[in-house]
Amino acid sequence: MRAADALFQALKAEGVEHVFGIPGGANLPIYDALYDADLIHIQARHEQGAGHAAEGYAKATGKVGVAMATSGPGATNLITAIADANLDSVPTVFITGQVRTDQIGTDGFQEADVTGMTLPVVKHSFLVTDPRQIPDYIHQAFHIASTGRPGPVLVDIPQDLSRAEIDYQPAQGTPTLPGYKPPTEGNIKQIRIAAKALANSRRPVIYGGGGIVNANASTEFREFCLTDRLPVTLTVMGLGAFEAPHEQWLGMLGMHGTRAANYAMDEADLIVCVGARFDDRITGKLSEFAPRAKFVHIDVDPAEISKNVPAHIPIVGDAADVLPKLTREYRALDADSSRLDDWWQRIRAWQNEHPLRYEDSHDSEIKPQFMIEAMYEATEGDAIITSDVGQHQMWAAQYYHFSEPRRWLNSGGLGTMGFGLPAAIGAKVARPDETVVCLAGDGSLVMVCQEFATAAQHEIPVKVFLMNNGHFGMVRQWQELFWQERYQSVAMGPSPDWPKLAEAFGWTGMQCSDKAELRDAMRAALDTEGPVLLDVRVTQNENCYPMIPAGHAARDMVG
């Protein structure tokens, strides 16, 4: 069998149904094999789009997303998506064509050392040197990408090797890799100590993150939080792991989190971190982060523990394994819930004094926060929302109440503008029965708008709600607040006629600039068949508040 055919056999064996990609010279044998393969290929319009679509597919399902590209420019175009998947721990496999083995190292046509270039941003990578390795490497790649802390794995295949003949034997069982043994079970002694510390804590906060979503452990997380009146906050990556609103829910924490969540972190005596990584958007100034707290840190990646903030009770393990044990141990202690009364009183005071709020317009103008609220109402909270990067992303995190996991797909770690549209395409392919809405920024969307063609060609009915503020809003905000209003390169100039642009690609285009009509416009967009873009003209100079200025402490929140 041709190695390229074995490649698809191996992908099928891994349960792959969809791949995203673009062909070219070096992966021609692979695309030739695809001709006969029983797989659906979504032809993206830029490899970055294929990569983000694979991420959206993976984030929406937890399954491994797959993207393919040719050598050289195809492969380099993928790199942004690979780096994105790395920082957000997205299970993905990227398959690139490489120049023929005899050309490697000769600066051959379309040669780029993609294995070398991506070393810092992959969980692992394979450069195929023998065609027989191809199916094995695919199985290993899937195993590595999807277990432990998930991440991107690259398989780079020289053209001559993918067209070589090999003896293909379907693989049996889990591949064994001598240097790869992700931890699963948490140490029960540590879990007991954590339960006892929690029982003794008077000002606890549960700080959860994307790891809960990765672990598919939202149910276990909720159960743990509800064993007592434990205050809960989540990172932007964790949103949906706990239902919002809820009486124990403090809102998101961090730079654009709620005051209640950030102040609670600041005054906590014990912080239980579950599957989050103490990112600088959370800690702000490290030396002043949660100065009174002791830390329990639950993470499947041992290297995350004490990386940024020293842990007092480290627990290495899968959240899905650790949380039920922690719940059991904590219950057994029968802790006195009334010890938390004073703490809740304090938290309620913050919540009452500083709710999330904005000043609505007195005319027909659409405030961006209003747009998110309208989106929540129009979708009835029942949609997968993908997002680009900027103010709109943060407003969505604040004002759209995510109450289930895998329904809020955004680029947190790398903060990649343009993530939203291709991710929505991937999510819709994976979850055809769900409503999938991309909340786009006008700066972000134009970076990837060629993917309109992908959705049109493959009839993928995603909806794009464009928050059009005519600016790189987030950067404009920083220039206003921290750079003396010296606005440089943040206005978008003449806006493209977005509805027309969408229509040019075969989409339905709509526009709305009147508050009173917005919900109906959104409903109409959702009810219209096929892909739809709704261009929503919002206030141009609104700032996203509250905010902890970069490098400051939670106490210094402004707005």
Binding site: T115, L119, G179, F295, H312
Partner: protein, 184 residues
């Protein structure tokens, strides 16, 4: 409810986070799969995470598929725990040992070419003898000396001969192996 290893009550005041910096030199001995790019992965990890390697030595082991990489780094500057955990994440790294200073034999080899004027030559030869070093090449103006020993010994030898004028120096970096335990 009492059980070995866990106290009944855990008071928050008593909890301490593990110390980050050890303040001493560490020798890490890594067993890695002999695959293309392994060294690049390790070197890349160090530069990306801002860890500074003092010395690095690579060589075969008794298993042809496995190489040994010996690294030394300064535990006063880097949290060694974090370094080893990051290294462990590399799929091709099979095993890491943070060598126990008392239970380890560590050696490096170095070659020094030193200016050896007529007046200085005797002193250099004397040093060589004290350090159990070998003269491996001689010319009218210079001596080339091979020294083997711990990093500290080689450092010390360097300090002795430097005033004579060091023309060139090549050091391998330490390799290390655990000491066998005294038989019971």
């Amino acid at each position: 409810m009492s059980e070995p290893g866990t106290q009944d009550v855990v008071r928050l005041e008593d909890l301490e986070a593990s110390r980050q910096l050890t303040g001493r030199k560490h020798i890490l001995s890594l067993l890695v799969e002999d695959k293309p790019g392994v060294l690049a992965r390790i070197a890349g990890l160090f530069s990306r995470r801002g860890f500074n390697i003092d010395t690095l030595a690579v060589g075969p082991t008794d298993d042809p598929d496995v190489s040994r990489i010996t690294l030394t780094l300064d535990g006063a500057v880097h949290p060694i725990d974090q370094v080893t955990k990051q290294l462990h994440k590399l799929v091709n790294v099979i095993k890491i040992r943070d060598m126990e200073p008392n239970g380890t034999v560590a050696r490096e080899m170095a070659l020094f070419r030193v200016n050896a004027s007529v007046e200085g030559r005797a002193e250099i030869m004397q040093f060589a003898e004290i350090y159990e070093a070998k003269v491996v090449d001689v010319s009218r103006r210079s001596l080339t000396i091979e020294v083997t020993g711990s990093q500290e010994k080689v450092d010390s030898f360097e300090r002795m001969v430097r005033p004579h004028g060091l023309i060139e120096m090549a050091r391998t970096g330490e390799v290390a192996i655990t000491k066998s335990r005294p038989e019971a």
